[in-house]
Point group: C2
Chain length 232, copies 2
């Protein structure tokens, strides 16, 4: 059951409320296919990941940074031979990703309906501002949330700042998300509670080493439906 | 003088607190120079502007969208002949723009110091989340502001939503900014007050037709220092 102290439950968005990583994965597969005539997939995969990490501090999380990293990888690994039409193709994929229909994860809407009767609900997500706002609007879930926070990163300091700004005590706060690194560990660090609901696919950068996990007892559920049953 | 009803004064950021358009303009000039062997400047300028407008709804305001629009313009107007090295160059400019030192506009810090003694101060700005947060931190001005709102667009509805969320009455709210379209007209529309402080350069998309202006008496000052003198 949920600790009776909890008053606010916050949800991560991508891969917690709706499917996201799947769309990135699919685009990445198309990218590997596009360039397979120049570079083997494994080389592309490794270089793309390194480029994304390098670009995080400039371009942040989200589709735009991903597209720029794919373009940069394409130019670098083909030694500039990549065709203009291929670059255009990558930018077209970016617009497609942004317009991709929002597919809510099974059971989420029912869970929000139940939880919203007992708790103040929030969204705390990172990514591009416009993109996340648009997905929340298109998800049809916006009305369940009292507050929405779109942030540039999810560190302990950023969670603390959000709680302070909304006058929420850490011990009355529970975060739910698919990423141990972004949704669980930083919230535990500031004295809040957190529930891990894994998604089938997690971006490599969001995974944590086992040692990092082991300081805490991580509470995990297979789905948000399973989690909501515990309040029944 | 400032209407005695006013309790909150909000500032736009780019080209109101610090120099921004100048950095975009300079990059754009380098872009024209890079491609002058393929396409005349006037054709590039027109196509780039059209591409930026087309991409606004996908990529929003900010450096990342600008870079993607330059890349797309380069590919389209050279019929794919643009070299990989040129594309890499454009992405490098993007990182340079994001790391560019923040140059506060003259008189702004003194004005904030004075105003913060009498008013609750806010920043309301659009652009990329990470980029705007970073600029505010590097400007050294963050401590003057009680609230910071980074939004995807500045429409009357978005201003109204911000005021509601912070329990601010429109008639007690004054917005200061360099864009009639984004900072002045939408605020007047919801019954707030606004002061126009023009910057030397305004992006074409932010200009408004004279007819749009004429419904209102626009209050304008040449600089924030001139504005602050009116409260003295």
């Amino acid at each position: 059951m949920i600790d009776p102290k909890i008053k606010t439950i916050a949800f991560d968005a991508d891969d917690t409320l709706w499917v996201n990583e799947t769309i990135f994965d699919a685009t990445q597969e198309r990218f590997f296919k596009l360039l397979e005539q120049y570079v083997p997939e494994e080389v592309l995969r490794k270089h793309l990941f390194q480029t994304e990490i390098k670009n995080l501090k400039y371009f942040g999380y989200g589709v735009k940074g991903f597209i720029l990293s794919m373009i940069e990888t394409a130019v670098e690994l083909t030694e500039g031979l990549v065709r203009g039409g291929d670059i255009q193709q990558i930018i077209d994929w970016g617009r497609e990703m942004i317009e991709h229909p929002v597919e809510n994860i099974e059971g989420v809407e029912q869970a929000l309906k139940t939880l919203s009767q007992h708790y103040q609900l929030m969204v705390i997500t990172k990514g591009d501002l416009l993109d996340q706002e648009s997905k929340l609007a298109r998800s049809g879930l916006a009305d369940y949330f009292d507050k929405v926070e779109i942030v540039s990163d999810k560190t302990a300091a950023q969670y603390q700042e959000i709680l302070n700004r909304h006058d929420i005590k850490a011990e009355e706060f529970l975060m739910i998300g698919n990423s141990l690194k972004s949704d669980v560990l930083p919230v535990l660090e500031i004295g809040g509670q957190a529930v891990h609901i894994p998604f089938s696919s997690t971006w490599e950068h969001e995974t944590v080493a086992p040692a990092e996990e082991s300081h805490h007892q991580i509470v995990a559920f297979a789905s948000v439906t399973e989690f909501v049953k515990t309040i029944g």
